[in-house]
Amino acid sequence: MNKPNEARYYVHGVEVPQTPPARAKDQEPWDETRVLGEPLPRVDGYERVSGTAVYPADMSLPRMLYGAILRCPHPSAVVTGVDTSGAEGMAGVHAVISAFTPEDDTTRPHDELIRSTLFNTRCRYEGEAVAAVAAESPYIAHDALRAINVEYEVLPFVADERRALEPDAPKVHETGNQVSDTERYERGDVEQGLREADVVLEEEYRCECEIHTPMEPHGCVASWDGDRLTIWESTQGVYNIQTQVAASLGVPLSKVRVVGHYMGGGFGSKLQAGRYTLTAALLAKQTARPVKLTLTREETYLAVGNRPPSNMRLKAGVKRDGTLTALDYSGTGTGGAARAGGTSLLDWLIRDLYLCPNVRTELTDVYVNAGPARPFRAPGHPQCAWALEQMMDALAVAIDMDPVQLRLKNVPTVSQGRNGIPYTTTGLQRCLEEGAREFRWEETKNEIASGDLNGDIRRGVGMGSGLWAGGGGGPPSTAIVKIYSDGSINLNMGASDIGTGTKTVMAMVVAEELGVSHEDIQVEHADTGTTQYATASGGSKTVPTESPAVRAAAIDAREQLFEIAAEEMEVDVSVLSLRDGKVVATGETPREVNVAELQGLRRRGNITGVGYRGPNPSDKAVNPFAAQFCEVEVNIKTGEVNVVRFLGAHDSGRVMNRLTYQNQVFGGITMGIGLGMTEQRLLDVDQTGKMVNKNWHDYKLPTAVDVPADMTCVPIDPHDTECNTTGAKGIGEPATIPTAAVVANAVYHATGVRITDTPIDPTKLVNALAAARGGE
């Protein structure tokens, strides 16, 4: 099977109806734009900065109770009894539920293969839910949790995925610790390719497990009105939550309303409903009061997702002229105790990023007694880049070729991972060339080569490239643009704005078509009760999915408006345009009419334009491409690395808003520095299996001083006229793909030491540097 699985990754389990074709289906992307591409501030910037934006964690309803979940402290245990009497007797406690109360007939959503009830008596990871309470205050709720007595039979565990397949490893599930058959891919003849190579290198790499740790913890507020349930959820996709909650509770979709206006970050971990969502709904039902359930920071470290740890081995062959002849790759990973995509897309770059006729990959996903993985900003890709991009760097050194040149030599012409179909556009070559030029790659390398080697500080530069398997978007999406009788405009769409600026970009699309400022567009979004169906904001597909639908809706509204105007102005529609709230007729005697003065519009009340996302080109791949560059200084005695500057050159199609685009690039680089230099989940693998650093202090996210002030964003727009009607591809995930490897390559350039395990910090580097200096 050579079919990429990216589509499945994000809409897995969600039915995807085909939408009617876009009315403006023959639309080409714009040649010139008035609004799009400008560095415009966010339409909700004031609300976000002033604190008036209401996030689910801020919600407060009359008579609202607070829920809290008791979690298993062991990585593997059987719950033999739960004594809730202490909690039930406490003043202010309204409900206590557990595996032993009748309400727990709910199966967990989003996991067809391992069915489980809301509260398990067989706990397979630290943090698995055992019981829950609802109480008058969060403090009473947590005191109540302390008063619940659980009896556990503690069982042996395996927490390190590198040991999971050892014969004596405790079994996470009765079926054993391998999730499914090893996934294999092959093209060409790898052995032959290796024979043809002038240089063959082989190396092992490892990326540590990362936790999403969004600023706003996971959580929701659930409230019943008769048999109708409303949930305010911190989510990337209200329709995903609606589907999963309705299915799990056995309630019709029409009775479940999910609202998700603001959310404080998800990075892939908020694409689905949590057990906490169902728990809140059940507690609310039982108490007949709204229930708010916000996870504690510690819970978010254990139970709501991670980027799986990845162990990779790569053998690569190259000719002296830089032609890649073979890539032989294997990877293992773990989604924890769940079937959660422990090796998702972990080989995609090997399959698709560089021209190479002979490729073999195999991926093995295993179970361990640890929290479930969830998609994390470009699943699999940064890990795969950590291996592939370091290997490319090493190959370049081995054949004495510049690493930019080696990559240029192997820029793919077609998507080899998809049996050779073309990309709509590939800006990889331009990313490499223009990125290198802006970065002053050659000049800096020369400066460093002729620099002095006294003192303990060494400079180095590194680079790497990447592509993202998704980023093209696609149907379904429906958007509505309304023009009211006073000329004001409303955009209605189901998509969530996960902090990336979706509302702003979509308002700009409407503004572009309707001749107004983006600030004049009122946006209604992310509410299953009042807005249109949209898939979740994930996979870097929100702009390419939603913007064509929004554009089509704006065009539909404009066409209807022009029909009214043409009649009243007694001109042909073809001479009409919109500018600053006026319909302008060009011709012998140019005239203009305020939209608000159109009698036909007054009589109708408003115009409703509907837009649908049309299909993607059927025989082409739509992918974003990237090249990144950085400079570091390394203290060779202490292993301290200072990232001096970073540059991201990205082909993500049209730049919709220069500011939000740049935000993604800088944010992606920051996150990549986290993977490469500071972050790692640490489990007490040899003793208790428990996570030791489940807090924001011990789990080290990069701070402002860990990322360079000197960051540059170089957008490469290849003017993609085929991908969709706006010419935009995704930027969120590609922005973080090569980053960690780029740092590693720069550290190698500076010191001659290659660190193949994340994170690169003094704990790794200082030993390697001392060893390289030799027995000092």
């Binding site: 402290p73 693998v685 003094p762 704990t763």
Partner: protein, 325 residues
């Protein structure tokens, strides 16, 4: 979530001491460490006694003999920014400015900083470890990348404070108010080694309060410095740190102290390194010798072997820097 506790804000030192004589009462200065411990259930606490109203415990002043007196409630940020401190005891200012983050330096006090609880994740986490009255130190066979390489004995924490090593290098004295009167303890003797008691960090009794810290007048030719290496640039404790306070006569070191942080369960004075530099001029060779001497007795645990070359590199670099070599 914080558990239940009573809270009093004492209006006088006497009241504070009286409130503290109840079992399970704890002093709260800036609260930046104490509240975290309570939230994480590290120890029981029935009453939090805030001393934040005791303004007489705030401030930095030059003493008549040319030393410095620092009230225990003085924010760490103030110690870092103090011109008085920078003038004669620069190493302390540098150490204070390396603590945590700007917010924590504003909230945290110097007294709280030297009294803070260890940051070992087993101690802070849901592990009934030796320091909490259990029978094992989980760090010994567990995730010990940040634990000690010197002075470990049944418990393998590192002392978390950045200011304490600088204060120790600068020969500070801790002034303590006790119900029976006040007493002074040289910083050398303030922290408790696990060999003596693995369940306490300082010599303070339950109702004793640190009132001030004094530094003696700098000896002629004193130079001091503090540097720490950490896994991330801010909001992080030392992987390795070194406080130097060396008195020079010309380019000769005549006396002084070298204290390591991130190395041992208490701020760790390295007499071996001191001996290697005192009476000598610091050049590349002396610096390397002293650095090696500092690590002579070091033994690594499974995951912290990097600390040994790290300390060597750090001590060497800092000695050369302070000598201006």
């Amino acid at each position: 979530m914080l558990p239940q506790f009573n809270y009093v804000r004492a209006q006088s030192l006497e009241e504070a001491q009286q409130q503290l004589s109840t079992d399970g009462a704890r002093v709260c200065a800036g609260g930046s460490d104490l509240l975290g411990c309570l939230r994480d259930d590290v120890f029981d606490c029935s009453k939090v006694v805030s001393i934040s109203s005791l303004n007489q415990l705030r401030g930095i002043a030059r003493t008549r003999d040319g030393g410095i007196r620092i009230g225990s409630l003085t924010p760490i940020a103030e110690v870092a920014a103090s011109a008085t401190v920078q003038e004669t005891h620069a190493g302390l200012s540098q150490a204070a400015s390396e603590v945590a983050s700007p917010q924590l330096r504003n909230q945290g006090t110097i007294g709280g900083n030297i009294c803070q609880k260890p940051r070992c994740w087993y101690y802070r986490g849901e592990f009934h470890c030796l320091r909490k009255g259990g029978t094992t130190c989980y760090a010994l066979a567990g995730e010990n990348q940040y634990h000690c390489i010197l002075g470990g004995y049944r418990c393998y924490i590192v002392h978390p404070s950045d200011t304490a090593p600088a204060l120790l290098a600068l020969n500070a004295t801790v002034h303590i108010a006790a119900p029976s009167g006040s007493r002074t303890v040289p910083l050398d003797e303030f922290h408790v080694h696990p060999r003596d008691d693995p369940q306490r960090e300082t010599v303070l009794q339950g109702n004793e309060i640190v009132t001030e810290i004094t530094l003696p007048a700098p000896p002629p030719g004193l130079r001091s410095s503090y540097r720490k290496v950490r896994a991330r640039g801010s909001w992080d404790f030392a992987l390795a740190g070194v406080a130097l306070a060396l008195a020079f006569n010309g380019d000769q070191v005549v006396s002084g102290r070298i204290v390591l942080s991130g190395a041992a369960p208490v701020p760790w004075r390295s007499r071996e390194a001191e001996n290697a530099v005192i009476g000598r001029r610091i050049d590349a060779a002396t610096a390397r010798e002293a650095a090696a001497a500092a690590m002579e007795d070091a033994t690594a645990l499974k995951r912290n072997a990097y600390k040994i070359p790290l300390f060597k590199g750090l001590v060497e670099q800092q000695l050369l820097a302070i000598a201006g070599a």
